[in-house]
Amino acid sequence: MELTVDKLKQMYYDMNLIRRFEEKVDEHSKKGNIPGFIHLSIGQEACQTGVMHALKETDYKFPDHRSHGVCLLAGSPKEKVMAEIFAKKTGLCEGKGGSMHIADVEVGNMGNNAIEGSITASGLGTAYASKYRGEDNVTAVFMGDGTCGRGELHESMNMASNLKVPLIYVLVNNGYAISTRAEEAHAFPEHLSDRAAGYDIPAEVVDGNDVEKVYETMNRAVQRARKGEGPSMIELLTYRWQGHFSGDPASYRPEDEVEKWKEEKCPIKNLREKLEKRDVKPETLDKLEEDALQEVNEMVEFALNSPEPELEDAIKYIYAEKYESMKEGK
């Protein structure tokens, strides 16, 4: 079924929002306004957008290492995503998470974890909880190609298949685990999702830069999971335009490879062309782009003007239930 123009326009806005967001984060990371490691997803916006549009707010989402787009589209107050990355008290996690650890449980964002593979195991638990309670919520775990090397993923797939839980492994294959290409480090490098078959988990490979295809593929996996038919894997073939982290010159990649992806496979440009073919006026699309930039600028303002955590926050939240006999953190 073809997506409506309205739905695609929303996706166009969301993809622009992610790109502008990432550009601003990059800028402020380099200016020193954002501490720590930053992993950007410019070029991968269709993966995040297509997948998130196929999910409900009550579904469990575990974002990957390039998490910002998923966090933005989960339904959180978006300025709080930005503030979190800026390590501000007004952030979703009160400034204690940062780019690599952002959750918003209210909207089913269960948090990214900077140990790759870890969430493939904990996602098993939220999926089991849905089944345990007889709810139709599904769990989507985002992961990169590098995660295919982690034992936790294989343990997770084996158990997910056996327990038949509503879990979708969203394998965002951007071709590189930092500097290492799949064929340099993995068996079955052409389609990493081939390994799902070993656990009797159906997998589909799709162009991750085509937001419609991503949406449709994810939607099939989600429907399977909701109907109690068990886990799936979808592999989204894409490319990150930047290095692994903000500031990584990515000298391990051929220049022309990067240019080719930018020129021929830009997910935003591709969607724009499609929308124009479906008679959406260029000025309508320009306006969506401007609005997205405007919204991101407001998020940056909010983050810049927000306070940092207080020193006493260093020992806040170590234990959910307090112990009388413990001087926490001392």
Partner: protein, 325 residues
């Protein structure tokens, strides 16, 4: 009062908590139709079925990961790691997920899961079925470490652990499973973070948990005949550690022995010695004595294992040394 074995007391706690709260479920290797390697989960599978009692593959990382994720949604998993040595296989899930989820997400998530595991030597089971890894877990802020020494404590502490909002590592010394003691039939909890003065005394304080507590009690009895009054304290939980009870005791006796089965270096006794040095130095009339294992793997040969792990006589000698200082 009726008596139960240590393993039966744990089993009763699981039965009662699963009866009380349908969010409680159990998973682990062979916990279902077999009832667990040490019989702790006996009868649960038959009564509650495979949804609430899951026989898992040999996948500790996924087992604890599943527990964490389920706990994030408010369920209360109790996961059995058959031997404490296998914690290495799920260490990431303990250290980087369970322990930190509440903190790093600004208090949004909690991980109310219990990881039960059999620790300790004496079974001639050697390197990979005998270790005492309490100290590995004590260095992870956010984790609670529970270590019962009697059937009464086993039931009360496990019940409290299941009801706690915090992620808990629950050690069961395998030489204690067949020991017996009085256990009330009704459900009850013992406060986590509260030590128990097992025997009052005035000349020396012995801090000992799990199997070592048995030796400490025996030594107290033997030395009483020789006019030495030994106070025995079982911390019950190693994290949080009940400073107040220990400090009160040390202020009274001025002499301390810590007995633990793990290798001496970096073991929990080292932490207690450090804590007393920091905060109770002026009360001490002798250095804090640590009675612990040699800094060695737990060997296979019975002769070597007995040499490596502290024996009763070493606890006794340690107390005498501190008294005579």
């Amino acid at each position: 009062m009726r008596e139960l074995k240590f393993s039966q007391a744990l089993n009763e706690a699981l039965h009662q908590e699963m009866e009380r709260d349908e969010d409680v479920f159990v998973l682990g290797q062979d916990v279902g139709k077999m009832g667990g390697d040490f019989g702790v989960t006996k009868g649960l599978w038959k009564k509650y079925g495979e949804k609430r009692v899951i026989d898992t593959p040999l996948s500790e990382a996924a087992m604890v990961g599943l527990s964490n994720g389920a706990a994030f949604t408010g369920l209360r998993p109790v996961v059995e790691i058959m031997f404490a040595d296998f914690i290495t296989e799920c260490f990431d899930q303990i250290v980087n997920n369970a322990a930190k989820a509440h903190y790093m997400f600004g208090g949004q998530l909690t991980a109310p899961m219990v990881l039960r595991t059999a620790s300790g030597g004496g079974f001639r089971a050697a390197y990979h079925h005998s270790q005492n890894p309490e100290a590995w877990l004590m260095n992870i802020p956010g984790i609670t470490v529970v270590a019962p020494s009697t059937p009464y404590e086993a039931k009360g502490l496990l019940t409290a652990s299941i009801r706690s909002e915090n992620p808990i590592i629950f050690f069961e010394h395998k030489m204690l499973y067949s020991t017996s003691g009085e256990v009330p039939e009704e459900p009850y909890t013992l406060k986590l973070g509260k030590a128990e003065v097992k025997k009052e005394g005035k000349d020396v304080t012995v801090i000992a948990s799990m199997k070592m507590c048995e030796y400490a009690m025996k030594a107290a009895e033997e030395l009483a005949d020789k006019g030495v009054s030994v106070e025995v304290i079982d911390p019950r939980t190693l994290v949080p550690f009940d400073r107040e009870t220990i400090f009160d005791s040390v202020a009274k006796t001025n002499r301390v022995v810590v007995a633990y089965e793990a290798p001496k270096t970096g073991g929990y006794g080292a932490e207690i010695a450090g804590m007393l040095n920091d905060e109770m130095f002026e009360f001490l009339k002798a250095p804090v004595k640590r009675v612990a294992s040699l800094d060695s793997p737990v060997a296979f040969s019975p002769k070597l294992e007995d040499h490596i792990i502290p024996e009763y006589s070493q606890v006794l000698d340690g107390i005498k040394e501190v008294i005579d200082y």
